[in-house]
Every structure is written in C-alpha cells, then in structure tokens.
Amino acid sequence: MNNPQLNAKGELQHLLSIEGLPREILTQILDTAESFADVTEREVKKVPLLRGKSVFNLFFEPSTRTRTTFEIAAKRLSADVINLNIAISSQTKGESLLDTVANLSAMQADIFVVRHNSSGAPFLIARHVKPHEHVINAGDGRHAHPTQGLLDLFTIRHYKKDFSRLTVAIVGDILHSRVARSLIHGLTTLGAPEVRVIGPQTLLPTGVEALGVRVFHDMREGLRGADAVVMLRLQNERMGGALLPSAQEFNKHYGLTADKLALAKPDAIVMHPGPMNRGVEIDSSVADGPHSVILPQVTFGIAVRMAVMSIVAGN
C-alpha cells in the first residue's frame, strides 16, 4: 500500500494523520515522547538533536496553543523556528499554497508544521516537498489533528498504563472535530476494546459506527464505567445552520457535570483538547476537579511534538 506518510523503508517521513499508521509507529512515538518528557523537567530543557535545522510554522488558521507548543518543542530540540502568520502574508496577495511552500523551501526549510482550514492541505504539500523536507499536520479542516490525538493517547497511557482493557468515551461535537477522528483511529489501532462517542444525532458524522465505535445519544448511559472521558469543544465557528437549539440546551444534555461524571469509573480521567467553553461542554467544578488532566495534557503535548519532529527529521 502506498502510504504518503511513510518512506520506502516504512519509516515515518511525514505525520499527516493517525489513520493508516501501524501500531509500531504509534508506539515508537509514544515511547520516544516519554524520554522527552524527562528532558522538560531538568535544568537545561534542551537537547541538540535538531541543531541547524529550520522549522517553519505555517498557520493558515488561528491557533495559540498548538502553534506555541510546536514552537517550544522545536526550540527544545535546538531547531530554529520561523512562525508565519499567513493571514497577513502573501496568500492574501494571491499567492498559491504550493508557491508559498516552494518559496519557503528555497529558504532551506527542514520541517513544515501546517495548519489549514481545508482538509487535505498538508497532504498536498507533502506530495510536493523535497525528500529531505518533512510535513507535520497541525490540524486540517475537519479531517485530522494527529499530534493532538497522539498527546491524548500519551495522556491516557500515562495514567492508565495500557489500552487493552479501557473504555474511552468521547463526548460532544464529533462532527466538526478533527481531534475525535484522530483519537478514534489511534485508540482502535492500539487495541482499546471500547471506544464510545456520545452526542446528539446532529453532531455525529453519518456512519461513525464504521470507525469501530459505539454510539450513545444519552450521555449518562454512555459515561457508565468509562476509564477516560474526552470532552470536545463546541465548535461555534465551524457550524453552519441550526444544528443545536442553544448552548444552554447542549449543556443540559451533553455538558460534563460532577453528577454525570460520577457514573464513570471512580478513577476516571477527564480530558479536553482546549480551548474550553466553561459552562457549555464542561462545568468548572469538573474542569478544575480531581479527575481533570487537562493541564498535564498541554505539558505532554510538548514532549509528543518533540518526539514527532525528531523521528520524522531523522528518517
């Protein structure tokens, strides 16, 4: 099978999507990230691995957390980081995506970190870059957000050690969520026996069962016995048309409250990819409560991005 993410030796050349990555590569990324997590705890939080390499952050869509954590990760690997805010650059003057990339490539890029509102944009770029250049998808449209999916997997493995007996519930706006898709593929590849998606019919993609998940419309039922609860953000900016009556109505049925969380396992962890809408998909008492691992997720995100960059740049 021709996988655009892998080189001829089957090694990771670009990270475009978790879908289609073999279990060994997912495990390699998670194991490597564990070693990098230690680096971020010591006096000099830097290793010389990517010294002399240039990482271009190409963000065609606004993002603070993802862009910043990629920047920190690249700097901790000793790479030079160039941030391009495309909204105020050449694209507004009419330059095509591939021309932008060709120009940056002429400036000796090694890694492109790409976020784009069109699904598939990072794939297009990956097909046109030189063999020594690598593309990392930092979120494309509704399609995929593989480093977020990987950091969610890392977080679950960190707290639960092993996927083989886990029930993971993903709650909310699955339809517009690239995070959910990436995470579902990762969980099923790593052998989690039960992945549930919980949400109203209007916010679930048609045929979502085909991804190997169980669908619930009743949140209480879906949370029962869960080991990990992943809340998704209600993506107002991606919603065209009336998919929901109101945020209050959503909160009533699908917001995570302490009493709904009590139905999950007593040691369940609560995750959220951020940014959170407090009082909509998650209550403050849960977001700041003892089950929440939302802030550790951010810290782990740096180690995971260090792992991905150092693996692709070495292949």
Binding site: D31, S35, F36, D38, E43, V44, V47, L49, I311, G314
Partner: protein, 167 residues
C-alpha cells in the same frame, strides 16, 4: 578466536580499584545498555550512598543526521544533583569515544560536576576522540568488523561477547 576475559572477575577487580577512591561526593552514572548493567553491579558492590543514574545518549548522538533516531530510547534518570558531584561514568566497551563525548554533553545539561572519571570494563582501542578511561578492566584487541559487547543472562550474570558488526 581469542579467549575473552571473565566479565564477572573484571567487575570485581574494578570495584576493588574504585573502593578506596570513593568520597562523599561520589556518584555513578551508567550508559544504556551494557554500561547500565555494569553500573548496577558496581553500585551494589561498592555500596554507594547516592542513587544510581542511568543515561541513554540517543538525543546527543553525532550520527543522528545519518542514522536518525533509534527506536526505543530509554529514559535518562539522574536522581541526584550533578552540580559539584564527582562522577563515575560507566560504560561496557570503550571504542571510538563518541558515546562518551555525547554522555558528557548530556551530563552538563544537568549541571556542573566537580569531575568526571570514565570507568569501562574493556578498552578495544580505535579512539577517534581524545578520550581515555581512568579505570579499565581489560585492554582487548578486536578485529575490524567485529563488535565487542556485554551480555547479561537471565540470572544476571555478565559476559563479554564478540560478534560480527550489525548482528
């Protein structure tokens, strides 16, 4: 094939040599994988007070550009303050000296040790960097294309082995 010395005996010999040199600031760091086994053994034989440090130099290698990142980097754990410590850096076999160079760079990212001494079970020559061991179990001649490495069996017994490169 030349007979290789008994790794267990070399280990005892190194411990005896190190014993009178240990001070209150002494601490030990072993390099994965063989050096970590040797360090675990020496640390125990010497009954050292400070906990043992273990290091994987994968993120400091000088051949990353050519070979990429290896698949299973172990976690470096230095559970003591490196600042001011008199470090014993332990590896199984000393060859080009590049691993030791990488290890010293990594150690300095943890702090500024008072000193670093190199302890190896075997020195096979062939240095490419100005590095020499302070404590060495044995000097061995190894034919080109062959690799000398430490093995550990299920019972924990250490043994030197010679094999073709790449095996």
């Amino acid at each position: 094939m030349t007979r290789l010395p008994d790794a267990e005996k070399l280990c005892q010999q190194l411990a005896a040599e190190l014993k009178p040199r240990l001070g209150p600031k002494s601490a030990m760091v072993g390099l994965y994988t063989g050096g970590a086994w040797l360090a675990e053994r020496l640390h125990q034989l010497l009954d050292m007070k400070s906990p043992l440090g273990l290091m994987d130099i994968a993120f400091y290698r000088d051949d990353y550009a050519a070979r990429g990142l290896k698949h299973d980097p172990k976690r470096t754990k230095i559970p003591f303050d490196v600042n001011g410590a008199e470090l014993l850096l332990v590896d199984d076999v000393l060859y080009s000296g590049r691993t030791v160079r990488a290890a010293m760079n990594e150690l300095f990212d943890y702090g500024r040790p008072a000193s670093i001494s190199l302890v190896v079970l075997a020195d096979r020559g062939g240095r490419q960097l100005p590095i020499c061991p302070q404590y060495c179990g044995a000097e061995l001649e190894v034919p080109a294309g062959m690799r000398l490495r430490l093995k550990r069996d299920e019972a924990g017994k250490l043994e030197l082995a010679m094999e073709k490169q790449g095996e």
